[in-house]
Symmetry: C2
Subunit: 136 residues, 2 copies
């Protein structure tokens, strides 16, 4: 399964139907083909356009206020397999092939704080040392 | 698998670690145990507390500006099985048992607008007539 990019005109049409919020963003979920939810981040129109055009996932970093080409620093890229928008067109789901791990902590998924009767507990161990990922 | 609620003190502790945004919200993903992502919505602190206390998923409706006890009108409730927060504590993942369908269009999941080379296409058919769900 590989990504076949729609034409620029089709992407324009999809973007025109997308309901970006007051900050110009939609929520974007990245999911492994096995069903594991890897992360939730944000896209503005440029990030969504780049993702659909290139088949490589690009988010909008709210903290850095710039396009965040996932894996640009860490090498942990995301190749797009499928993209879907939700009923009210303000959230997107991306089925992706993750190189390495999705989380900056070195864990496979960002959703590792499990709620238990005793409070939050780590449900996942890091697979890679973040110092290796970010060259610190 | 059923939900065991943490004590009120533990829930207070979890809420104190949760990073609600400027509008007091976090993103909340609902996922079926089979991996299917059913919907993405929002929770404020009260909605997250009620969800963790009762084991019945309660969102915050941004359009109606009130607690949204999922299924209150439609009967399509969500029973909590597992809850997880992400690395930066501003998004939550809920593994839930969905009664009926998650989407107000009568589809199982809200993420049914598939991006194809020809534009957006419905990838899912409604299972229930919304008129039946909402008594119109």
């Amino acid at each position: 399964m590989t990504w076949t990019a729609p034409s620029p005109a089709i992407i324009d049409d999809i973007l025109s139907q997308t309901r970006f919020d007051a900050n110009g963003l939609i929520s974007a979920i990245a999911q492994d083909p096995d069903g594991t939810i890897l992360m939730l981040a944000w896209m503005n129109a440029d990030a969504l356009r780049e993702t659909l055009e290139t088949g490589r996932v690009c988010y909008w970093s709210r903290s850095r206020e710039k396009l965040w080409r996932k894996g640009e620093t860490s090498g942990q890229q995301q190749q797009l397999l499928e993209a879907r928008l939700d009923c009210d067109m303000d959230a997107a789901l991306f089925i992706i092939r993750q190189t390495g791990v999705a989380c900056h902590t070195g864990r496979r998924s960002c959703f590792y704080h499990g709620v238990t009767p005793d409070g939050l507990q780590d449900t996942m161990q890091p697979e890679i040392d973040p110092a290796v990922l970010y060259g610190r």
